[in-house]
């Protein structure tokens, strides 16, 4: 157990921080730990959580995805057209929304791999394209999402917020098995040491392509869930989510240099960030000062995460 905690110390720290923050939040909230409070909290967390998952797949292969928010905006706008009407139509719509996200990621991946261009540049450009498409679809916020479906996804099941159930499914049903596949290990190998991965006979181009496609797919899932929560389409949500998704993965112990971190950590980071924001809301800090405090907390968390560098005995390693 102790060994497990040591080798996963980043996730353990993130989990500990999250539990402390959540306890403080529920303790100070005027309505206490009711299902209502928990549900609203969990919904907000899961939106950012899925965005952080998207960012995770780009970061773990030593990349970054600046189009996460844009993919969410685009898929959210698509969802506002497709998620209403017959049951069959809605089912098709949900698949189409997620597929659109995955397609955006595939485009990113293709340009990065075959154009040999840095992810930061590629996704900066495609982010504008995706937002542009979203604006063409929804020049002003609007559209509708089937209310029964939205309620089913965003309320609770036997007192447990649906968003938490979905989070558990993502971790147990997807992440834990995925981590044991060749693709799952390949992502880490690529991010940790591309040279070693290549020499071990791994198809590094395919893995990178798959990573960005997965990033797009989770961006699509985030957009879909955002649609359930807001029940409208809005093309203007991109910027905030992109930056917060990066902040979330860093908070969750995912190293921007690649190869280290887990999806669980990314989710925990997102939950922490949203919980801090909720705490601020009820803490009486003036709303204009909230970004300042959020920034300070984020900076402190990142500084702790990179304290390892103080141990370097060769000064050149600091620049590596």
């Amino acid at each position: 157990m102790l060994n497990y905690m040591r080798s996963n110390r980043r996730e353990v720290i993130a989990g500990f921080v999250l539990v402390t923050l959540l306890a403080t939040y529920l303790g100070t909230h005027p309505r206490g730990a009711s299902t209502y409070v928990m549900t609203i909290w969990a919904n907000q967390c899961l939106i950012l959580g899925l965005a952080a998952c998207a960012q995770f797949f780009a970061v773990v292969v030593r990349g970054i995805d600046l189009s996460v928010g844009a993919v969410m905006a685009l898929t959210n706008c698509i969802a506002s057209y497709l998620l209403d009407g017959s049951a069959l139509g809605i089912a098709f719509g949900m698949v189409a929304v997620v597929a659109a996200g995955a397609f955006c990621g595939l485009v990113n991946g293709l340009i990065i791999v075959f154009g040999r261009i840095q992810p930061i540049v590629v996704t900066l450009a495609t982010a504008s394209i995706f937002v542009g498409l979203a604006l063409l679809l929804r020049p002003t916020p609007g559209g509708a999402v089937n209310y029964d479906l939205a309620d089913a996804m965003t309320l609770d099941l036997l007192g447990i917020p649906t968003a938490l159930i979905l989070t558990t499914i993502a971790v147990v049903g997807f992440w834990l098995p995925f981590r044991r596949t060749g693709l799952g290990l390949g992502l880490y190998a690529l991010g940790s040491s591309e040279q070693a991965a290549f020499q071990s006979g791994i198809d590094t181009r395919f893995i990178r392509l798959a990573a960005f496609t997965l990033a797009g797919l989770f961006g699509g899932l985030a957009g879909l869930f955002y649609s359930f929560v807001t029940t409208t389409g809005d093309a203007g949500i991109a910027a905030g989510f992109t930056l917060n998704s990066i902040a979330a993965v860093v908070l969750g112990g995912v190293l921007l240099r690649g190869g280290v971190g887990t999806l669980v950590g990314a989710l925990a980071g997102a939950f922490i960030l949203k919980t801090i924001a909720s705490l601020m809301f009820f803490s009486g800090i003036p709303s204009l000062a909230q970004p300042l405090f959020e920034g300070l907390i984020l900076a402190a968390a990142i500084a702790i995460g990179s304290a390892d560098i103080l141990r370097a005995r060769n000064k050149l390693e600091v620049f590596g």
Binding site: Y188, S192, G201, I202, V260, R313
Partner: protein, 505 residues
């Protein structure tokens, strides 16, 4: 008459060049199944390039590779693995952030992108147990393992792939003698089961113990292949050394024994990589540092120049004891050290900046110099005959040799009292080498003290007045005058005298 069975691997007319440097020059080479074939040669002889070609990491510029008589092209390590060509690389191919178990799974035969089965793991564990790695935990992160443990995991990973041709490139360099013996036992078993083994090592007694056939490489060519035991150590070293090229080097000048000591280092240690090194350099003296890669000599130079933290020992410049805490302190006029780093592309130059800007970098921050003054650089640039298309062009537009000239000029502008050089001629054409030798000689004659790290023993012999050979962080031999022979340097490099004693014990 012809053989009914073609060789497992046949290479014909293989050439490989990186820019103007030829790493391999129309080499023919074959490997037979059930045979351990040792490959010997000095640094830069082309051994590693040859292995990388077989492993699919590099593709040859010319020539043909055949496996079982069929022509193949190995476009990637994956293609080579599919044919059963498995290489255990000198630079380890383990992913540092994954666990031992995960690394083994990644390399397992038939591992694709889907679900990984752990069938091969028991075989890998068995191999680990046999070669003294039973203490290596499957759940340990590779980054937390020691170098010998990583090599043991590499060996297990390679054997697990059931190779038809197994390349061991310095596979046992970090292992101690008893573990090496266990590894050899395993390799012999593989050989007897029909595997071809290519074995690269710098340790002669290992080659003698394991090899069936030996090939010797020199300057990118295969100069000899013979059965193990046909030639003794002396003959093999002569084959590796080849012809002397004394005319490349300028005449040595006698150093006065009473010349002022410029740099004196006493009991210098750092981490586990440098152990208790003492040396002194006089005005006009060129002192060489020899040894295989990574024996601590490079770290020693970095430490002198203030790049390492928590070093032990005493450093004096011109009789005054000083602490050099950073490169800025090292280049201060009271110290006046200069350091030409090993990797000019990342540590010596800013490739995208212009030649002029790169030249000025070292002089900037010295209050007594005007970095913009072209006269600072003019004489050394002229003597080195820098070929360039204008000082405003980025330094990346220059060839490797000319880039090194810029690095040298940038530091010579400070008129250093003591010049530290880390392998300044690595990967550089012969003409530039001669120019660099000439300017080093001239600087020495003008009174500069020079410390020259080199992997080329010719430089240590022809250029240096005294050479200290490093092994495992410590100086194992200090040679000067008539003792400076290739045989002595190579023997010291391999720590042969100590090895012989250890074998007797």
């Amino acid at each position: 008459m012809f053989d009914t069975k073609p060789p497992l691997l046949e290479m014909q007319g293989i050439s490989m060049h990186f820019g103007p440097t030829k790493a391999l020059d129309s080499v023919d080479f074959t490997c037979e199944p059930g045979e351990v074939h040792a490959v010997l040669g000095e640094n830069g002889a082309g051994k590693s390039t040859l292995m990388k070609l077989i492993a699919g990491v590099l593709q040859p510029n010319h020539g043909v590779l055949r496996v079982d008589g069929k022509e193949v092209s190995l476009g990637s390590p994956k293609a080579a693995l599919r044919l059963g060509l498995v290489c255990m690389f000198q630079e380890l191919s383990l992913v540092p952030d994954l666990t031992v178990r995960e690394n083994l799974l990644l390399g397992a035969p038939g591992a694709g992108l889907g679900w990984l089965n752990s069938e091969g793991l028991s075989k890998a564990q068995e191999v680990l147990n046999r070669i003294g790695g039973e203490n290596i935990k499957m759940a340990a992160r590779v980054a937390d393992l020691t170098l010998p443990q990583r090599q043991q995991v590499e060996i297990a990973k390679a054997i697990m792939k059931k190779p038809r041709l197994l390349i061991l490139d310095e596979a046992t360099s970090a292992l101690n003698a008893s573990v090496v013996e266990k590894v050899f036992e395993l390799v012999r078993e593989e050989r007897d089961a029909g595997t071809a083994v290519l074995f690269i090592s710098h340790r002669f007694h290992e080659i003698e113990a394991l090899a069936d056939r030996v090939s010797i490489f020199r300057n990118g060519q295969r100069v000899a292949t013979f059965m193990n035991g046909e030639h003794d150590y002396g003959e093999i070293i002569d084959l590796m050394v080849g012809q002397k090229i004394e005319e490349l080097f300028p005449q040595k000048m006698p150093v006065l024994n009473d010349a002022e000591v410029v740099l004196e280092v006493l009991n210098f240690s750092w981490d586990t990589q440098v152990k208790d090194v003492s040396l002194s350099v006089r005005r006009g003296q060129i002192v060489g540092l020899g040894g295989l890669d990574g024996q601590g000599q490079a770290a020693f130079l970095m430490g002198l120049f203030g790049l390492l933290r928590k070093t032990d020992g005493m450093t004096s410049i011109a009789g005054t004891r000083i602490e050099i805490a950073s490169p800025k302190a090292a280049k201060h006029q009271n110290v006046a050290l200069a350091f030409i780093p090993e990797d000019r592309k990342t540590e010596g130059l800013i490739l995208d900046q212009s030649i002029q800007e790169n030249l000025e970098l070292a002089a900037l921050g010295r209050s007594d110099l005007d970095a913009g003054d072209a006269a600072l650089y003019a004489s050394s640039l002229e003597q080195l005959a820098l070929k360039h298309g204008g000082f405003g062009l980025p330094v990346s537009s220059l060839s490797g040799g000319n880039q090194q000239k810029v690095v040298l000029s940038k530091w010579l502008a400070l008129k250093p009292r003591c010049l530290l050089l880390a392998d300044p001629t690595r990967g550089i054409d012969v003409k530039t080498k001669t120019q660099i030798y000439a300017i080093l000689r001239q600087l020495a004659d003008q009174g500069t003290a020079i410390v020259l790290l080199s992997t080329d023993y010719e430089e240590l012999i022809q250029l240096c007045d005294e050479t200290h050979v490093f092994f495992d962080g410590a100086v194992v031999a200090s040679l000067s005058g008539d003792e400076l022979t290739p045989q002595n340097i190579i023997a010291a490099t391999l720590n042969m005298s100590a090895q012989v004693e250890a074998d007797r014990a």
